[in-house]
Structure formats: structure tokens, C-alpha cells
């Protein structure tokens, strides 16, 4: 398939190789992160007037799904501020490559590897989302907890263990980065094979060996391999969307679980935040109350029983329709690719209506980030009641249709026969029709 290697252009190579541009971007995001925590703790309790709520849950969360992932895969991870302090300590300096720093450098427990904990973290976001998304102080405490946790873990465990195994957003971006148009790969495998030192692996904070990279799910695009390769053998490719999805790529069972949790979360978030059912909103918000326990029970039942049950049923049917002898576990993992475009486009469709209706809050909170009556750039009183336009509704329909076409195509390419793909296409169809009803119905 066609690839455009950005390192062929000297200006692009110098930007990617130099640690300063990335450091400056990360410094800005770290400053923004600290400022967000402060505004969350000391700013207005009215969510729509607080920088922390609007910037985290509307501006950043929207940018991640509409810009960073669809056009840059895990590009957000390359400038994410959360692992920075711990990484500086691990590296023994701010602009230093991975090396002799501070920390116990232990390996992450084998039993806890994979995306299982990330999926669990995303479930927690869904269960407590109505409170976290609307309470500035809770958002601040969550961010504070995350950065402290990442810091402490970096002192105990090697590399970016937090990002690799715990961060729910890392799980989200990693899963959908497989559909993204950016990848880091080696230019010539022979060159790597003859290089004994493997400096790229030693330098990689994600623990990846570029020669063995077949998927972009666990590559954080940090460019450390590019910087240390003595043979200029690392390519940063622009590639067709969905290049990691197909019959030749390998996938794990935890990817299927993560993909299903994402599908359940987008369904529940659509119902809670965009639906006309006030009682569901109140139940999701009243944490600890009986209605909340009912909401949590229904959410968990949908995420852990209904969707996985339907998916497993579809995979089992597909197996029965084919002739190849393989285990259910392997098939569940193989077909997890179908969930990637399906979930990504569903999240984009959800975000379009969310962003269109709520973006009016962004300029006012820049003008008055703490909600203390300031008017720094003259937009404090400019918030209007956002609304869904006919264009945003049409875009949502189109995104769901693209997601269904894409996931069906992946199901067909992965399956031996069209008959075998039919159950997975049906599963994708049921999900897409449910999303359509929730967003447009």
C-alpha cells in the first residue's frame, strides 16, 4: 500500500529529530494541565463558567476525537503532559534520551498487561461521567490523581507503564490509532537485523521494537527511535486510513474487550448526555443513590454482558459458517478489528453534536477562566445557547454510515467467505442503527 515517508523531507526530518519542538509543545500542554487543575480547584463551581470543564471535556476531548486520532493516530500521546514529570526523572533530565535516571525500573506485572485495566478505567469514566464532566473540582481531582499516579508508577516501573497499561485515554487512542493515517516503521528490515545494539528499543519509552512493529496501537509517536537510530532507518509514514486492519495483522482478546467497552460507553453517553430522558441524567449524576445503582447496573450489564454476548454470538456463528478450525478466543481477537472503525466513527458522530452545541462556551472561559467576573479578551458574556444544526445532524448520519461501511469491509476482508462475515456485519448494523436512533431519532 502507498506510504509517504515524511523523513524524506529534510525540514520534516529536522523538526521530528530535534527534541525542542516537541518539548515546547509538551511544556505548553503541561502548563495548560496545571492551569486546568488550578481553575478546577479554585474557579467557579458552575461548570459552564469554568475553564477546567470546558477545556477538558469540550475543547480537548473534542479535539482528540475529531482531530488528533483521525489525522494523527496517537499524536496526542506524543505531547501529553501526564507522563512528563516521571519521564524526566526516569531520564535524568528534561531533554535527555531514555537512560540512567532515577527509579526502580521494574517490569510491569505480566498478569496486568494488555488493555484490560485501561478498559476498566474507561468503564469508571462512564459510571461517574455525569459528575466528572460537570463538576470542576471533581475534574481537577481526577487530573491530579492521574498525574500523581503516573509519576509514582514511573518511579517504580520501567518506561511508560502507566500509558501502556493503565491510562484509559491511552487505551482509547491506541485502539483507534490502528485506523489512523500515521505510523512509525523501519525503512529496511535488513539494516535493523544487522544492527546489534538495538538502540531504538533501548530508547523507546513505550517498550516497542520498531522492526517488530505491525500495529500503531502501542507506538506513542514520541520519535525517540528516530533520534537514536545511527542508520537513519526509521520512517514516519503517512498511510491510508485503516492500514493496521486486515487479514494479516495480529490482534489480542483484550483489544476486543476494549473495543466493546468503547461501544457501550458511546451508547450510554449518547443516551445520558444527548437524549431527552431527564431521569437517566439525574440517575447518572446522583452517585450513591438507588437510581444511580440502577443506572450503573444497566450500564455494566450492557457493557459486560449484552454487547460482549452479541459480539461473541456473532463470532461463534461466523466460525460455524466457516471451515477453518480455530478457537473462539482467537476468533474473538481476530474480529476485534471490526470494532475499531465502528467505534471510532460512532465517537466522532457523538462528538459532532456535542461540539456543535457546546462550543459556544469556549471563548467565554478563556476570557474568564475562573468564573470570577474577569473579561480578559472581551468574550466573557458571549456564550449563547448552542444548538444542533441540520448540517451537524447530517454529518452525524454520514459518519455512522462511513463507520458501518468501513467495519463491514473489515469484517469481509478478515473473514474467509462473505457468509462468514454476515454475523459480524449484522452486529455492526445493530450497533449503528442504535446509535442512529439515539442521535437522530
Amino acid at each position: 500500500m502507498v506510504r509517504l515517508d515524511l523523513t524524506r523531507y529534510p525540514w520534516a526530518l529536522s523538526i521530528l529529530r530535534n527534541r525542542w519542538p516537541q518539548f515546547l509543545l509538551r511544556a505548553v500542554t503541561l502548563a495548560g494541565f496545571v492551569f486546568t487543575i488550578l481553575t478546577g480547584l479554585f474557579g467557579s463551581v458552575v461548570g459552564s463558567h469554568n475553564f477546567a470543564i470546558i477545556f477538558v471535556w469540550i475543547a480537548w476531548w473534542t479535539a482528540l476525537k475529531l482531530f488528533f486520532i483521525p489525522f494523527g493516530g496517537r499524536s496526542w500521546c506524543s505531547i501529553c503532559p501526564i507522563p512528563m514529570p516521571g519521564e524526566w526523572l526516569q531520564n535524568g533530565g528534561i531533554l535527555m534520551p531514555r537512560g540512567k535516571g532515577f527509579g526502580l525500573n521494574k517490569r510491569w506485572p505480566k498478569a496486568l498487561r494488555g488493555s484490560w485495566l485501561q478498559a476498566g478505567g474507561f468503564l469508571l469514566i462512564g459510571l461517574f461521567g455525569a459528575l466528572t464532566l460537570t463538576s470542576a473540582s471533581v475534574t481537577a481531582f481526577v487530573l491530579l490523581f492521574i498525574i500523581v499516579l503516573a509519576f509514582v508508577l514511573s518511579l517504580v516501573f520501567e518506561r511508560r507503564s502507566f500509558c501502556n497499561y493503565l491510562c484509559p485515554i491511552g487505551g482509547f487512542t491506541g485502539l483507534y490509532a490502528q485506523a489512523g493515517p500515521v505510523e512509525v516503521r523501519v525503512k529496511d528490515a535488513e539494516v535493523c537485523a544487522s544492527h546489534a545494539e538495538k538502540t531504538c528499543y533501548t530508547a523507546c519509552p513505550w517498550g516497542q521494537f520498531p522492526l517488530a512493529l505491525k500495529s500503531s496501537a502501542n507506538c506513542g509517536l514520541c520519535m525517540e527511535c528516530l533520534r537514536v537510530c545511527p542508520s537513519d532507518n526509521i520512517a514516519v509514514n503517512l498511510r491510508p486510513w485503516g492500514s493496521d486492519l486486515g487479514p494479516k495483522t495480529k490482534h489480542r482478546l483484550d483489544e476486543a474487550f476494549l473495543g466493546l467497552i468503547m461501544l457501550a460507553s458511546v451508547l450510554v453517553d449518547s443516551a445520558v448526555f444527548l437524549g431527552p430522558w431527564g431521569q437517566i441524567k439525574s440517575a447518572a449524576y446522583a452517585i450513591g443513590s438507588t437510581p444511580w445503582f440502577i443506572f450503573a447496573g444497566v450500564f455494566l450489564f450492557a457493557a459486560l454482558v449484552i454487547l460482549p454476548g452479541l459480539y461473541a454470538g456473532a463470532v461463534k456463528l461466523s466460525m460455524l459458517m466457516g471451515s477453518s478450525r480455530t478457537t473462539l478466543r482467537k476468533s474473538l481477537a481476530k474480529y476485534s478489528q471490526v470494532l475499531v472503525p465502528l467505534g471510532l466513527m460512532a465517537w466522532i458522530a457523538f462528538t459532532i453534536s456535542f461540539a456543535f452545541a457546546k462550543f459556544s462556551y469556549v471563548l467565554p472561559v478563556i476570557s474568564d477562566p475562573l468564573g470570577w467576573g474577569w473579561n480578559l479578551i472581551g468574550y466573557s458574556n458571549s456564550a449563547w445557547v448552542g444548538q444542533s444544526t441540520s448540517i451537524s445532524l447530517l454529518l452525524q448520519v454520514v459518519m455512522l454510515a462511513v463507520g458501518l461501511a468501513w467495519s463491514s469491509r473489515v469484517a469481509l476482508r478478515v473473514s474467509g467467505t462473505h457468509r462468514q462475515a454476515l454475523p459480524l456485519v449484522t452486529f455492526s448494523g445493530i450497533f449503528s442503527f442504535s446509535m442512529l436512533w439515539l442521535l437522530i431519532g
Partner: protein, 167 residues
């Protein structure tokens, strides 16, 4: 017959992606094709909507196109507002107060109405739904989703055919 390489490449590219062109064109047709409009006679309606913590009651309302609608907004707890997407229509009610205004539902479709006064943490998500006439967008959406599945089957089915044709 084996075609010369450049033309062969062009034909391969065209045939490989023709399904995408067909999908986009058919999709556009589905999205813009005229659908039958509701023929129900417009009438005058009075709709009472109670606004309380993060919900409108009723939350879902169905009316006919060109109905003359008077909305009575009653606030049951704190100050609430009601702003209707797609229409220049807004109401604001103090606690216990009833306010009303009238509009003509001259645009068909499904429109969200939202609270327009910050009323608490879940205020941005205090939403109701007004359906004017049949929901044509969901009909188009269903057709588009079916088209997506058909296109996917067609696009994958085409690959072996293409290889045979160019052999």
C-alpha cells in the same frame, strides 16, 4: 489481453475505487431526494412543559408541520429557560412562574430544545425533543446504513473480479 502498464494502472485504480464513487453518489441521492411531506391539517396547540432539575416534562413532543404552537413553560424549582434548535424561540421562567409564547412550526424535522439558563451542573445536558412531522432524517439515515452494508459487500466482492479482468 494484457494492457500496457500505465493504462492498466489507471483502469485498476478506477475499478478499485469505483465502489467509493458509487457509494458517495448514491449516499448524496439518499440525503437530498425529496420525500413525501405530511398532509395533516395544521392546528393550534397548547403545550405545557414543566422544567425541573435537568429535565423537561414531557421530554418528547410530536406535532404536525405548520401547527401554531403555544408553549407554556413552568419552572418547578430554579430559573430555567427553553431554547428551540432551528427556531428563533426562547422562554425564561422564574421558580413557580409560568411563561408562554407562540410560534408556527414551519420547519419539519426533529429539533432539540434546551435549557438556556445555567440551572446546575447538568444544565448543558438538559434537553428535550420536538418532532415536527415525520422524522425524514432517520429514514434517510436507515437507507444510508443499508447502502453502507451493500457497498461494503460490493467493494470486497470486486477485488477477485478485478484481478481476473486484468490477468
Amino acid at each position: 489481453m494484457k494492457l500496457p502498464l500505465p493504462i492498466s494502472n489507471l483502469i485498476t485504480f478506477f475499478l478499485q475505487w469505483i465502489w467509493l464513487f458509487v457509494f458517495v453518489l448514491s449516499g448524496l441521492l439518499i440525503l437530498i431526494a425529496p420525500l413525501p411531506q405530511s398532509s395533516r391539517t395544521p392546528q393550534k396547540r397548547l403545550i405545557r412543559i414543566e422544567a425541573s432539575s435537568f429535565q423537561f416534562t414531557p421530554g418528547q413532543i410530536h406535532i404536525n408541520p405548520n401547527d401554531e404552537v403555544t408553549v407554556e413553560l413552568v419552572s418547578m424549582d430554579v430559573v430555567h429557560g427553553l431554547s428551540l434548535d432551528g427556531y428563533d424561540f426562547e422562554l425564561k421562567a422564574d421558580p413557580g412562574q409560568t411563561v408562554s409564547a407562540t410560534f408556527v412550526a414551519d420547519k419539519a424535522g426533529v429539533f432539540r430544545f434546551r435549557c438556556s439558563v445555567a440551572c446546575g451542573n447538568l444544565h448543558p445536558f438538559m434537553i428535550g425533543k420536538l418532532q415536527i412531522g415525520p422524522n425524514q432524517l432517520i429514514i434517510r439515515g436507515i437507507a444510508l446504513l443499508i447502502l453502507s452494508i451493500v457497498t461494503a459487500f460490493y467493494s470486497v466482492r470486486q477485488i477477485p473480479q478485478l484481478q481476473t479482468r486484468l490477468a
